[in-house]
C-alpha cells in the first residue's frame, strides 16, 4: 500500500432503460385527470359524473398502448416525455369537458349554430388518432436519420402545406384567419403539420450548409455578416412567413416558423449575429404588417389597452370584439388569484367564443390560479427540457438539430400562446399544445413527441460492444 490511493476511477454508467419509471409516472398522469374530472363533477352537480369511468378508462387505454409500443420499439427512450404529454392531454380533456357543461356556452352555440354538440367526445377521438399517429411514427421511423434523405422534398411539402389554405375552394376563412382547409366533413389546420416537416428541412439543410454560414463571413460593427449568397435561404423563409402573415392573417404561425429557423441557425452556426438579424427582421416585418393589416391592428389595439379600446371601439366591429375577448381573459386570470376558484367554479365561459381552444389557458388561470398556471408552464418546460437534453445526447448532427428545432418550435408556440393570452404580446390564433380543443394540433403534437422519443431512444441506447478481433485468436507466437 505504498502508492497514492486517494484517487478516483471514472466509469461509464450502464444506461438503464427506465421503462418502469415511465409506467409509474404514466399511472400517476392518468390518475390526475380522473381526480380533476371527479372534482368538476362534484363542483357542478354535487355528484360523481357519469362519464368519469369512460374517460378514465379511455385515457388509461391510450396511455397503455403508447407505453407498450415504446417498451417494444423504443426501449431506451426518455421516460418523461410520454407521461408529461399524457397528463397535458388528459387535463385538456377535462377542461374541455368542463366548458361543455357551461350553460352560457351551450346557449351561445344554440344561438349561433342552432344546435350544441359537446367537444369533449371529439377531443377524445382526436387524442386516440394522435396516439395512433405516435405509434405510427415509432413503427415506421426506425431511425430518424432516414428523414435526412427527404430534405428538399420536405421543403416542398412544407410550402405546399402552408399555401393550401389559400387555394380557392379548399381553404376556408374562419373568423378572419385563413389557416384551415376543409376536406369532406373535416377541417384541418395544415400549419400544425408543416411545423414538423419544416423542422426536418431546416435540420437537413443546415447540417450541410452550417460551415458556409458560420465561417464564410465578414466582420462588420462587431457582428459577423454572412456572404450574400448564404443569406438567400433566411431571406426566403422571411419572405414566405411574411406572405403567410399577409395573405392568411396568421401572425402566430409566421412567428413560429421564422423563430424556429433563427433558433436552428443559431444552434447550427453558433453565431450571435443570426439572432440579432433575426430579431431585427422579425420586428421590421411585424411593424410593417401591424400598421397595414386591419386584422392585426385590432389585435394590437386590444393588447395595448383592452379596457380603453373597449370603450372607444365602434359597437359590433372586429376591434370591439377582440377587445372584449381580451378584457374577459384578463378578468379570468385576475379572479383566479393565487389558488384559483376551484375546478368547475370559475366563470371563464364568459370569454364565450373559442373559450375551449385559443383561450383555454384562461380557464386554467381562473380555476387553478397562479399555482396551477405555474404547474402547466412547468410541465411544458419539462417537455422542452427533455427535448433539448435529447438534442445534447444525440450523436449525429441531424438528430441534434431536429430535436432542437422541434423543442424550439414547441417552446415558441407555448410562448406565443401563453404570452398572447396573458397580454404580454399581441394575441395570435394558435392553440396550446395538447390542452386546447383541436384535432390537428393534438395529432401533430403527438407526432412531435413520437419523433423526440425516437431520437432519444437512439441517443440513449448504449453503444454496441466492439467487434471481436479475428487477429487476436490463437496466433502462434514465434519467440526470438
Amino acid at each position: 500500500m505504498s502508492v497514492v490511493t486517494n484517487t478516483t476511477t471514472i466509469g461509464a454508467i450502464e444506461a438503464p432503460s427506465r421503462r418502469n419509471t415511465e409506467l409509474a409516472l404514466l399511472a400517476f398522469a392518468v390518475a390526475i385527470p380522473v381526480f380533476a374530472y371527479l372534482n368538476v363533477g362534484l363542483a357542478l352537480d354535487g355528484e360523481v359524473p357519469s362519464g368519469m369511468l369512460g374517460y378514465g378508462l379511455g385515457l388509461a387505454l391510450l396511455a397503455t398502448v403508447a407505453h407498450l409500443v415504446v417498451r417494444k420499439w423504443a426501449p431506451y427512450a426518455d421516460p418523461l416525455l410520454l407521461p408529461l404529454a399524457t397528463l397535458l392531454n388528459g387535463m385538456g380533456l377535462v377542461l374541455i369537458w368542463r366548458l361543455d357543461q357551461s350553460p352560457r356556452l351551450i346557449s351561445l352555440a344554440k344561438r349561433s349554430y342552432g344546435a350544441f354538440s359537446p367537444s369533449a367526445p371529439n377531443q377524445m377521438m382526436y387524442s386516440a388518432i394522435g396516439i395512433a399517429m405516435f405509434v405510427g411514427v415509432l413503427l415506421l421511423l426506425k431511425d430518424h436519420r432516414v428523414l435526412q434523405r427527404y430534405t428538399y422534398i420536405s421543403m416542398v411539402v412544407a410550402l405546399v402545406l402552408l399555401l393550401l389554405p389559400l387555394v380557392p375552394g379548399l381553404g376556408t376563412d374562419v373568423f378572419g384567419a385563413k389557416i384551415w382547409i376543409r376536406i369532406g366533413g373535416f377541417s384541418i389546420q395544415p400549419g400544425e403539420f408543416a411545423k414538423l416537416v419544416l423542422a426536418v428541412f431546416f435540420s437537413g439543410y443546415l447540417m450541410v450548409k452550417r460551415d458556409a454560414l458560420a465561417l464564410a463571413s465578414r466582420r462588420f460593427m462587431g457582428l459577423y455578416l454572412p456572404r450574400g449568397r448564404d443569406l438567400g435561404p433566411i431571406l426566403t423563409i422571411w419572405a414566405v412567413s411574411l406572405l403567410i402573415l399577409v395573405f392568411e392573417n396568421d401572425l402566430g404561425t409566421s412567428l413560429l416558423f421564422f423563430g424556429m429557423f433563427v433558433i436552428m441557425l443559431y444552434v447550427a452556426t453558433e453565431r450571435t449575429s443570426w439572432i440579432v438579424m433575426g430579431l431585427l427582421m422579425a420586428v421590421a416585418g411585424a411593424v410593417v404588417v401591424g400598421s397595414t393589416a386591419s386584422h392585426v391592428q385590432s389585435r394590437v389595439a386590444a393588447w395595448l389597452d383592452p379596457f380603453e379600446c373597449l370603450k372607444t371601439a365602434p359597437e359590433g366591429s372586429n376591434m370591439a370584439y377582440a377587445c372584449d375577448q381580451m378584457t374577459q381573459v384578463l378578468m379570468s386570470f385576475g379572479s383566479g388569484g393565487i389558488l384559483g376558484t376551484g375546478l368547475g367554479q370559475g366563470n371563464s365561459d364568459l370569454i364565450q367564443f373559442a373559450a375551449n381552444s385559443d383561450f383555454i389557458f384562461a380557464t386554467v388561470g381562473e380555476e387553478l390560479g397562479l399555482t396551477g398556471v405555474m404547474v402547466f408552464l412547468l410541465l411544458y418546460g419539462l417537455i422542452i427540457e427533455r427535448g433539448i437534453r435529447t438534442s445534447l445526447a444525440a450523436r449525429d448532427p441531424f438528430g441534434k438539430l431536429l430535436a432542437m428545432g422541434l423543442s424550439g418550435a414547441f417552446a415558441l408556440q407555448i410562448f406565443v400562446v401563453a404570452g398572447g393570452v396573458m397580454g404580454l404580446i399581441p394575441l395570435t390564433g394558435m392553440t396550446m399544445p395538447f390542452l386546447a380543443y383541436g384535432g390537428s394540433s393534438v395529432i401533430a403534437n403527438w407526432a412531435l413527441i413520437g419523433i423526440l422519443i425516437r431520437i432519444s431512444d437512439t441517443a440513449r441506447r448504449p453503444a454496441p460492444s466492439p467487434a471481436p478481433n479475428p487477429d487476436a485468436e490463437m496466433t502462434q507466437v514465434v519467440r526470438p
Binding site: V3, T8, A15, A36, A43, L84, L382, N469, T475, V477
Partner: protein
C-alpha cells in the same frame, strides 16, 4: 356538495399537480447520465466509520466488493488473488482500480475505465478481465503499438501473474494484492 369538501379538493388537486412536477424532476435528477466517479483505495477504507453516509450512496454490489479485498475479511477471497490494479509508470502513476470482477478497458477512448493520455496508445487498446476461475487475463484489442507483458508482445489473451508489468506506450500497470 359542502363548501369544505370542495375547498379541500381544490387545494388537494393543486398539491397533486405539484407532486407530479416534483416526481418528474426527481426522475430527471436520477437520470442524469454521464460518468460515475467512485472514490477508491485504502485511505477511504480506514476512514470508513466517518464516511458511512457516503458509503450508503454507493450501489450495494460495489460496497460488497470493496469489503471483500480486506485481508481480515476471512477466506472468502482466493489466496494470492490480486485485489487492485495499479498504474506504476506514466502520467497516471498512482491510479488504482479495485478489481471487482468487472472488465477494465484501457485506451484513449473517453469511455475507457482507464483513459490513457498517451500518443502510443490506441483508442481501444487493451482490456483486463477475469476468466471463469477468477484468473485475470489481459487481451490486446488490436492496438497499433501493441501491449507488452514483461517484454513479450501479446498476441493472445494471456493470464497476468501478480506484479508483472503490463506496458502500453509509456504507461505501465500491474496487479497487486
Amino acid at each position: 356538495m359542502s363548501e369544505l369538501t370542495l375547498t379541500v379538493m381544490r387545494l388537494g388537486f393543486l398539491a397533486v399537480l405539484w407532486l407530479f412536477v416534483i416526481v418528474a424532476v426527481q426522475v430527471i435528477r436520477s437520470d442524469l447520465f454521464g460518468t460515475r466517479v467512485t472514490q477508491r483505495g485504502s485511505r477511504r477504507q480506514e476512514a470508513r466509520p466517518q464516511q458511512s453516509g457516503r458509503q450508503q450512496a454507493a450501489p450495494p454490489q460495489q460496497r460488497g466488493a470493496q469489503q471483500a479485498p480486506q485481508p481480515a475479511g476471512g477466506g472468502r477471497s482466493r489466496r494470492g488473488a490480486p485485489t487492485k490494479l495499479v498504474v506504476s509508470e506514466g502520467t497516471l502513476t498512482g491510479t488504482t482500480v479495485a478489481l471487482q470482477g468487472q472488465t477494465i478497458t484501457l485506451g484513449r477512448a473517453h469511455d475507457s475505465t482507464i483513459v490513457l493520455d498517451d500518443d502510443y496508445a490506441s483508442s481501444r487498446h487493451a482490456r483486463i478481465y477475469p476468466d471463469r476461475d477468477g484468473q485475470w487475463i489481459v487481451e490486446d484489442l488490436g492496438s497499433t503499438n501493441g501491449t507488452y507483458l514483461d517484454r513479450t508482445r501479446l498476441t493472445t489473451p494471456t493470464p497476468i501473474p501478480l506484479g508483472a508489468p503490463i506496458r502500453i506506450g509509456k504507461t505501465v500497470i500491474e496487479l497487486r494484492k
